[in-house]
Structures are given as C-alpha cells and as structure tokens.
Symmetry: C2
Amino acid sequence: MLTVDWENRGTLPLYEYLCRRIRDSILDGELTAGERLPSKRSLAEHLRVSVITVENAYQQLEAEGYVYTLPRRGFFVSPVDRRLPARRPPAIPEGPPSPVWRLDLRSGQLDPACFPSALWARLTRQVLSNGDHLAPVPNQGLPALRQAIAQDLREFKGMAVSPEQIIVGAGAEYLYLLLVQLLGREAVFALEDPGYPKIRQVYAQWGAVCRPISLDRQGIPPDALFASGASVVHFSPAHHYPTGVVTPIARRQALLRWAEETGGVIIEDDYDSAFRFTGRPIPTLQSIDTSGRVIYLSTFSQTISPSMRVGFLVLPPWLLERCRRELGFYASTVPALEQQVLARFLERGWYEQHLSRIRKKYRLRRAVLLEAFAACPFAASLADRGAGLHFLLRLNTKEEDEVLRRRAEERGVRLAFLSEFAAIPRDAYRRTLVVNYAGLDPARLEEARALLEEVFGV
Amino acid sequence: MLTVDWENRGTLPLYEYLCRRIRDSILDGELTAGERLPSKRSLAEHLRVSVITVENAYQQLEAEGYVYTLPRRGFFVSPVDRRLPARRPPAIPEGPPSPVWRLDLRSGQLDPACFPSALWARLTRQVLSNGDHLAPVPNQGLPALRQAIAQDLREFKGMAVSPEQIIVGAGAEYLYLLLVQLLGREAVFALEDPGYPKIRQVYAQWGAVCRPISLDRQGIPPDALFASGASVVHFSPAHHYPTGVVTPIARRQALLRWAEETGGVIIEDDYDSAFRFTGRPIPTLQSIDTSGRVIYLSTFSQTISPSMRVGFLVLPPWLLERCRRELGFYASTVPALEQQVLARFLERGWYEQHLSRIRKKYRLRRAVLLEAFAACPFAASLADRGAGLHFLLRLNTKEEDEVLRRRAEERGVRLAFLSEFAAIPRDAYRRTLVVNYAGLDPARLEEARALLEEVFGV
C-alpha cells in the first residue's frame, strides 16, 4: 500500500499533500492504469489520517481525471501518460532592449511636468470612491465621455458631432485596426508618403492594399489621389507627421470633392492639432464635410499622456450603422477608470485650460530650441510650420543618414531621419532630422548641442 | 471696404473676430477668388483697430488657406468653395438600449462588494504620486507586471513561464485579435460547440476558417479534432463556458498528442480557473506541454473587474519570436496606471488573498442558489461541476427557448439559454438556462424565484 513521507508536507493541508503523492505515483508509473486504489477507510487506517482526508484527496484526483470511480467498486487509476521531466521556464532571448539614451529626439515623449498631476489624482480618487470604475463599459465607450468629447469638439473645433458617433478605443493603432475591419479588406488605402509607418503596418497586416502618395507642399495632391484608384485616404491635414505640412482650405475642399465624386472615404488623423502655435486651429475636414465622407480620429496621447492609451473615432452615420452591425461584438478596450476620469477632466473645462497651459509651455520651448538649432553649424535650414511637437532640420552634411544614425547611437543619441518615413525614396528626404522636441528640456540644450555636434562632426 | 459689426464680438479677441468676419465673407462669396484684400494699414484705419490686429487676422487666414500673399503686392483671396448650409450634428438612432433589468442572469457582472476597494485606491494613489503612470509602456506590457504574473502562475498553477513570454492586452477579445493575426489567415480554427460566441466572431472577422466541434462530457473529442483538419484549437479545459465541462488529465494529454502529431497549436483559454470550488485548480495544459504547442490565455475580468480590461497571453518561444517580428509594431493597449497597480497587487500577494476571499464568498452564494433553484418547480435538473461563476439549469417546460426569452424580457428578466451558444443545434441543448450567478445577491433570491416562476408559468 502507498507510503507517504509526511515530513515534507510543509504547510499544505493533509488531503492536498496526499493528493499530490498519489498523483506523483500515477505519473511516475508506480500506480498503473486500471489499478484499484485502496478503499478510503483502509488507506485512512494505514496512513493514520481521517477518512475525510482520503475522501477529499480521491475527489480531487477524480476531478482532475487521474482516477475514475466504478459504482460500488471504488476508485481506479485512469490511463494517463507518464510524467515528463520537470520543467523550467524556457530561456527566452530578451525583448528588444530599451537603452537609456543620453539624448532622444526620436520618441514622442512628453515632459512629465506638463501632466496635471494633482487634479488627475483628485478626479481618480473621486471615481474610485464612488465605485464608478466598476461600471460596465458599453462597447462604444462611456456615454459621459462621449458626451464630453462631443462638447469639446463643438466648442473648440466647431465640429457638429453627436456623442453617438464617437467610438473610444485603446490608442491610435487599435483605432486603425477597427477602421481597416470596418472599411473592408477590399478597400485600397492611399497613404501619405512620407508618413507615420504604423498606419501602413496595421492596414497591410489586415491584408489591405496600401498606395503611397507623395506629398507636395499642401499635402496630398488631388490628381494623384484620383489616379491612385484608392477608396480610402488616411491623412493628417492639420499637421502632417513628419513633414509638418498643413493642408490649406482649398486643398481640403478638393479632397472632399474626390471623396464625393468617387464615393471614397477620408480618414482625418488629427493626432496633434492641439499644438497649433500661431492663431487658432484650422477647421477640420470633418467640420466642412457635408456628405458624410469623413472619419475623424484623434487621441489624448500628445495632450495628456501616451501612457494613458485613449483615442477616439467620429464616424459618419452610415459607417456607424455598419460598425454597430459588424463590429458591435468587440468590447471596449479602455478601462472604466480612465474613461470616467477623462470625462470629468473634459466636461468641467479643465482639459482646455490644461491645453492652453501646455501650449504656452511648448511654444516657448519650441522657440528657444528653433533659435538654438538654427545657430548650430550642422543646421542648413529649419522647416517650421508653427505647429506640432516636432520640426524638420535639414543637415549641413555630406554623410548618409545610415552613417549618421550609427554614429549617433554609438554616442547614446537617438535620432529620427525623414528618409525613414518614406515608402518611395527621394533625394529631398535625405539628411533631414525630424526633431521631436517635447521631451527636451531647454536646461539640457547645451548638452544636446554638444552631443549633436559630436555626431555630425562639426 | 469690409464692415465689421463689433457688437457681436462677445469675448473673442479682436483679431479672431476679424478673421472670422473675413472668412465668412470669403465663404459667402462676398469676397471672390483673386480679389486683393485692403492693405493692413488701410483696413486698420478703416476699422479703427491696430495694424497688429489686422496682421494677426491675415496671418491666420493665410495659415488656413483662405488667402495667399504675393511678394510686395499684398494679400489675395484664395479660390475656395462657397459655404454650405450650417451644420447640426446628424440625428443618430440611439445605440442598442441598455435596459434596466429586474433580474439579469445573462451578463457576467460581478458583485461590486467583492472588489478590493480600499487597497486598490491606496495602490492607485501610490502610483499616481510616484508618476509611474506616465512611464512608457513597452508593447508586451510593463516588465514589473509580467514578472508578477509569471510568479503567480508559477506559485499557484505550477506553470514554468518566463516574463518574456507574457503579452498583456486590453481584454480577451483584443488578445483573440492578436492571436488570429499571429497564427495567420490560413489557420483553421477548431472551436468548442457550444461555446463563447465572440471567439468565433473575432476569428471569422479576420477571415479565418472556424470549425465547430461538438463537445462530449470531457470536452473536445480527440477523434473529432483529428478529423477536423484544424491547425489550431481554442478551448477552455479548466471549465468550459457555458456547459461547465472540465477536461480530465487523460483527455488533456490526448489533445497535446494531437498538437504534437499534427504540428497544431492549442489555445488554452483559462478565463475562470480561479473559481474551482472543490479542491485545487486542475493543472493547466500549458504546464504539461513539453513541445511548445500551447498558448495560455487568461484575464482579470472575472477575478478583479471586467471594467478593468486587462488580460494576458503566454506564448511558446517560437511564437513569441514570430510575434515580436510581425506584430511588434502594436503599442500596448493597457494604460500604465492599470499595469502598475495590478503589478503591485499581484507581487505583494494581495491578489491570491483576494481570490481566496471571493472564492469563499462565491462558493457560499453558489451553494445557496443551487439549493434554492433545485427546489424550484421549473427546474428539472442542475448541472454542477463545482467550478466557475455559472451553472446549467435544465428547465421543466415544454415551451421553446425563443418563447421563454420573449416572455422573460417582457417581465424585465434577462436570460441566457444554452441553445444560443451552439453553432450546430441539438435537442440536448434546448430548454436549458445558463445561470450566471455572480451578480445575484442571495438577499434577492425570493424576488428572483418569483420572477422566474412567472416567466416559466408554473
């Protein structure tokens, strides 16, 4: 009969320890398939434990499938495979390392000092103490948040939007993923070239055809769009990443005519329109679209924090209807807590106050940096469109981008080059930095300049 | 020359009001394309405002594309389309209404009293005051959270998992979406029938072929799986929704052999294994897989809150490598705040304490409800597998499910029927309720019973 070494039981309950002991015997082949286990009573006597202990252990083994019962005959060992050698976690090569950069002009990190910490903590406390973070989240997002977003769009962008048109989601890429599902695999996407590479990656991942369209000085040329055969165009008229192009009103109207004439759809990616530093933001395409051809997309990554992972879509009614019918099964991807806090932040006007404060801060930072960079020996020229958290710096060098990048990385400097963002290479894109300046503290400017001069060898 | 009615300016800055006035004139056709605007100085004199005001207005109009400049000649009206009638938000039919149910046995709502409110609020406060919610989130999820999950899996499920294998995502459906991208459009998915419908919806949405496999009393029959030609099987051996089937060890081993022999992949959906009420949880398939054929999936929706939207995958090394290569461009979908709080909750042992507390609570609730329902005249029998937050109740009725559902809804009662979950209809699935009991307070039991007796007409 089974022996049990009770010494090694530790803090496990008796039944649990016994269960493990028997399981081991089965897996090691000590007990074999079809073998009958001792009756509960006799095993209990043998081991000097209670019948209840044995009964609990047998029940657990039965639930796990290691043993089975036959009525009035008792417990029998099930046919199971022998145990394999004990396992350790597999040795996995580390994920892509995240080095600590001495200077990072590539990632769009914001200045943490711009986050409205005290207010955010207070709103979070309110939501948690009311239990509102446990409220079920409808798949389009919380009504209070959609209401607050619609109100903000109306008051500050002149957009006539019903809260019902809004779909909240976990960041821009998740929203791209919804859009490509909504517009269908047969859709042909015209994309800005150069452009933000993740847009193409998400759409192509889904199997959609993507056609790069070379930008001119006003954005996407309508002729090229008509010629492309595209059914959808994804672009950012307010301020293009990375070129900084702002699409003027006549061009916007021409693109709307393309959509009306071809039945096309425009995805207006308004990722950073809050950062227009000269004058007020330009009217969105969505607000001048009268035919329901525009999908508006924006996030709070640039204005609040990229670590919050919240963005939203505004769908025209016919696409909303399709979205509810075909994609209504997807649950919301944004926690109730973030949605509740953000709704309060928006609806009480704090968001616009916050924007106005950080706009001032970044405007100043931008001015200081533009002036300082313009005076650097490695700068041939600066392209400043008075908007956004980045600008272009044309380099005074004869080296290739790849050489410069390598030299920068060796010195702990992370750079973004305009050429990386282009699907169709052009000479005009070479030797141009995309300077994402939001995270660069002017106090560290001298250090940054010295590092860059080292990289560019001047 | 332009006239401006300053009366209606309200609180707008002068330049902004002037800019709007000129923009209106252009859109209304009062000013026509190519027309030259008055010089800044002369308009300023005419309107009795400063030259700076006019200059700011002109600059803004130029930035928006309504006017253009010619060197030394001044500002000219751009060719733009005339204004269209003012817009209102479109009238959108309300989204699917969310009625207030008198009794809801369908949705998997948890009892809010089970949420660890005070501790959660404290951890959230800590994270916010450290600024940890602003930390960048790597695309697989925060290392601290993945570490804490790996430790919990090791200690409480005997799973040997490296934190590098874990991918955190915004809920089960988002993880399904990642999986179907990872496994490829050519994959053929075998799915449990009956089963959780969203699994099929997400995979089919992506264009994958789905084959329903009828369950037997131990889960998915290996013969049927071999015969299906599937390359992937998605199933929940710990406790199947909605049938409650628990897959015994020998069957699990047989399914692993299927994966090894065919090169297939097993997605082990462990959505509610924390709620095993008799004995300890059964070993996961992932923990007995030695060939790297199992993907493990779980969420915190059932154990913490569905409104938190956090789940995770454990990938075998070869799929992890593919995931990093092909899907590495997707940013994390879970906010830093939730990841930081959850990491602390797990790593300090509070999660398991919490589980043990709520398991007791739900075990008691389950026992009370099972006993009460068993005694109801409408109950023919109860299927109780000692696990999970739901059980099956076979009805003592001759009515069809559709009739019963309608009668229930008229009385404000929301029910789930087993037949709804089946792709292949079977008589055995009819007249059976899936009772999701977690949100049903035993204090409301009498009321619930009375409502159900009304519905079932007994």
